[in-house]
């Protein structure tokens, strides 16, 4: 509702003041650009999403595995935690050129960058969930002589599912951000794919509506990813705990 009013005002302002589209295109011009340039934009969107989704899967595997290792031994915790924090606070723009240099295959390089950006929330939330296993249940497992594997698979991991899902939702949007940032770095080095490249190229050629169209697609993808993972979270928890 407010969104529609906002778009209307935006369009009205652009028309009323006669702002040229290469400064600020109105919503109509942007929507037109999405359709006119679909031939370039849709493959670019697809390519960016592929990087983000692959990175999210990798981040899930790595984040959960590291969280389990950290919960299993203090030594692992001491070894992993500082590196995880360092990777988290290092801006990916700063290390992306190195990674693109080291990893020959461009797609793999982008995935590595996006994974670095995305894995931390999954790691820290899953670790918090594993640590919050109810101590009475841990006692009970001990009382009946449970093995470490039984405690992990039948107690700790199921207990950590809600926290993991929160981490997954945050990581989902971060994977998209990471993918686009890495594409920017790679794109300025001549690697022509992804929405970031569309934005760079369109801005060089002053095709401002196409640039905005790419931004709009990016924003929409972020919303869709966030909403889809939120839906997954509700679905899983409802199935797990009963209605």
């Amino acid at each position: 509702m407010f969104g529609a009013v906002g778009l209307g005002l935006w369009q009205a302002t652009v028309w009323a003041l006669g702002v040229p589209p290469y400064v600020l295109p109105g919503p109509v011009a942007i929507v037109l650009a999405i359709f006119q340039d679909a031939g370039q934009l849709v493959p670019a969107l697809f390519s960016t999403l592929m990087v983000a989704i692959t990175a999210l899967l990798a981040a899930t595997g790595i984040g959960v595995a590291l969280a389990v290792a950290m919960a299993a031994s203090r030594l692992f915790r001491a070894a992993i935690q500082p590196w995880a924090v360092i990777l988290q606070v290092t801006p990916v723009v700063a290390i992306a050129p190195l990674i693109i240099l080291w990893v020959d295959q461009p797609f793999a390089a982008l995935v590595v960058c996006a994974t670095i950006v995305a894995f931390f929330p999954i790691l820290s939330n899953t670790a918090a969930g594993l640590a919050a296993t109810p101590p009475e249940l841990t006692d009970l497992f001990q009382l009946y002589g449970a093995s470490r594997a039984q405690s992990l698979f039948w107690l700790s991991l199921p207990s950590a599912v809600p926290n993991f899902l929160v981490g997954l939702r945050i990581s989902g949007t971060l994977a998209l951000v990471g993918a686009v940032v890495a594409e920017f770095v790679a794109g300025s080095g001549g690697f022509a794919s992804g929405l970031a490249y569309q934005i760079i190229e369109a801005s060089y050629r002053l095709e401002i509506p196409r640039m905005f169209a790419a931004l709009v697609l990016l924003g929409l993808s972020g919303i869709v990813i966030y909403a889809a993972l939120g839906g997954l979270e509700r679905l899983v928890l409802r199935r797990r705990d009963g209605a």
Binding site: E136, L137, D139, L140, L143, Y144, P158, R240, D241, G242
Partner: protein, 246 residues
Amino acid sequence: MLAIRSVTKRFDDGTLAVEEVSAEIKSGEFVALLGPSGCGKSTLLRLLAGLTAPSDGEIVWDAGARPGLGDIGFVFQDATLMPWADAAENVYLPLRLMGQRRAEAKARIDAALAQVGLAEFAESRPKALSGGMKMRVSIARALVSDPGLLLMDEPFAALDEFTRHRLQGDLHRLWRQSGKTVVFVTHSIYEAAFLASRVLVMSPRPGRIAADIAAKIGDGPERRDSAAYLALVGEITQALRGVMAL
């Protein structure tokens, strides 16, 4: 059944939770362990269950009574069920950890659920059960391996008065019928007096056994308002008053 011989528990951080506790518990007794909070009651139960080791002293089991897997049942203050498992799966847990298949265990799971009056709720998840029903599942879980010794740590403390009364009555009946040994931690004088065949009163931290009172209340529907019950409440109150004045 067992003897606690000058058991002391000091935690790594230096907290002295239990000091020089000695007591004997006979088979078939219902022992209420009563004391102010923080006096080491939970610690003593965990020592009995073997979940933590004494810093000093020892727990000696009667010949042939040393518990193996499944010979001790434990009920906590919260029902602590696994939210992702239904009532039957929660009750199955001890047998599952002991290596029994679900099909083999089915009869015992059904029997344990029936024992606590929840036969029809086998497939309900904890979320769909009331507080009292969750506690019943928790008790069924402790009973499913048919333990000789049942350890209960303030199991009814978080329930409303009506539910608590009903569960106390059910537990008392279950103990009469099964002949199990029960050690029941509580900080309610009335609960101790109603349930127990023997009341051990603990002093504030570090906990020691300050009084050992045998209960002689006739069974039956008037149990809660018999003169003997009221006299026992008075006796326990006296003992606690002595302890708190120390």
